[in-house]
Symmetry: C2
Subunit: 347 residues, 2 copies
Amino acid sequence: MARRKRESAGGKPTIFDVAQRAGVSIKTVSRVVNHEDNVRENTRERVLAAIADLDYQPNAAARGLSSKRSYVIGLIYENADEFSYMKHVLDGALAACEAQGYTLLLRPLTLPNDELLAQIRTFAVQARVDGVVLPAPIGDIDGVVDLLKELDVPFATVTPRTPKPEGINVFCDDAQASQDLASYLIEQGHNRIGFILGHPDHRATEQRYKGYRQALKAHGIGYDAALVRKGLFTFESGQQAAAKLLSLDTPPTAIMASNDDMAAGVSFHAHERGLDVPGDLSVVGFDDTPVASHMWPPLTTARQPISSMVEAAVNGLVRQLRGEEANLSEAPFHCEVVIRRSTGATP
Amino acid sequence: MARRKRESAGGKPTIFDVAQRAGVSIKTVSRVVNHEDNVRENTRERVLAAIADLDYQPNAAARGLSSKRSYVIGLIYENADEFSYMKHVLDGALAACEAQGYTLLLRPLTLPNDELLAQIRTFAVQARVDGVVLPAPIGDIDGVVDLLKELDVPFATVTPRTPKPEGINVFCDDAQASQDLASYLIEQGHNRIGFILGHPDHRATEQRYKGYRQALKAHGIGYDAALVRKGLFTFESGQQAAAKLLSLDTPPTAIMASNDDMAAGVSFHAHERGLDVPGDLSVVGFDDTPVASHMWPPLTTARQPISSMVEAAVNGLVRQLRGEEANLSEAPFHCEVVIRRSTGATP
DNA sequence: ACTCCATATGACAACGTTGTCATTTCATGG
DNA sequence: CCATGAAATGACAACGTTGTCATATGGAGT
């Protein structure tokens, strides 16, 4: 007269309650919940009705214990002060995880970091994640991808493509966007355009630099090494690079920074020198972070669809975890150029 | 000759492996792992050694299934465009969770939102969180706290204190910091000081307004309602409020905005009008977000120890979950005033 | 040495799923 | 009407911990 287990106590309904109500075995309920084949339509409906009636929610712990999967995806990221890029990463990752029924587990890391690989190993093993997403610059770092392969943890990177991409890789046309920005400046009459490189550990750095050179070449403008300075993607490094560039005997009339923070630094320094932007100096950034539209003057820049890229990465990862084809498009995501008031015609 | 279970397969070591190696029962291993009493020092050491030898990590799913706790803390937050406040919230929450052995589960919400309570209910029930952290402005919203009490989900709020605080509440001295900022302006010679209110749903809004009025009163300056404008904590609302204030017959010589984004809007608008900051207009913000130090001129503002506050909230919550006294200090956290170049003497 | 009690340890049954394999059901063709 | 095999369903044992309760151990007091 009674099931052997779960005498329908006051707690949350379990798979037994649903099975009893639908008049089937727990295994059939499990099949319905997990969208498995070989369930008669009629049966499926009865089970779904019982689930709805009882407001049944599968117990994640039990599921994880039995299936040996955690339904957790790890997001390993650089925890820099500037977080606007990561905000978009987070939005995309959360949206995709939610849609796929996965939980997102955050693992911030500080860079540079000698123990990086050890920390990632600990995280990957200890947290029992089913897979890991590696946005730039983490996915760019030597050894990270190899480590995850060694640990046999599925992963997806969101970072400019390497010659031989490993695992799932989502990327965008940084170089093209950079070229478009530089071309725009050239069309405004600029022919001495300063360029501030990004952090050398970010693969995007070389892509953006490449676009700059391509634009010069396409317009027949000679390359001047004095106009290219190193930077670190920080506001301060942008200030410093701007100071050097504007102290040249023939200073540039426009400066392209490899990201918005450095561009803000350039603009800040120009103001300190009493220069007008864009009257005396045009300034260009990259990323379209909030600071780009809120600083004065607002910044001409390029916007990456970061959330969508990360969503695509998570979706690909989940498909792989489910044993399906990862099935990622080979085409890069497209960056959009945003023209604002920080750029104008040659003085 | 063999245990009944777990013939030491190739997989991860389990509590059985540790028990065998240490020559004790699994229950004793469990006791050691969970820091329970009544384990002889000698025994504890043997178990710990075995754990270290095998690199044993308890299985979270099994633990959760057995103990009926998830070891997950939910963080419900407003997913605004501007994320610098949330970055600090996140840092604090992650740090505390990591230290306490809990996992953080993120639940972004968009505001305003008619289905807010339903969404929170779904999250709290479905995600099986052990507790929830509610930073401002979520913790300020009518009904949220009551809902969690009804659901019997432990929670901690990080938001200005109400007359009768419910659950764990962590807060800081917003009003005092605001008063200090206003006093500083008055000491610089300003006596017509504009004030831009924050979003009416944030409890911090009234606190910061209160500090402004207290400073006026303390210095014997009359209150002028025309100098106080509504805002929404956004850049745009700051611009608009500044436009109104600067169009007055006798415009203010300084404007206090209730946060940095609005202050950036004020500064932006001042530039559009051709005004010099701080020569013609002093501008003050609140929060010390990255934009405050990166905009031109850099912004005088007040900095809250948000990470520490959220850490304290999580720690209090965890203590409560463990059945200990929540044991929170009654003293508010202290905000620090940061003087930068956006403020100066009266023109 | 012996009792007694607190302390330390162990045996074993949950916990709620999924995986494996056995069994039933159903349509189909002979 | 029966044999056949595929589709549908079910029985039951994991999964790795913690909670409960029973039992062993050791030291203090006689």
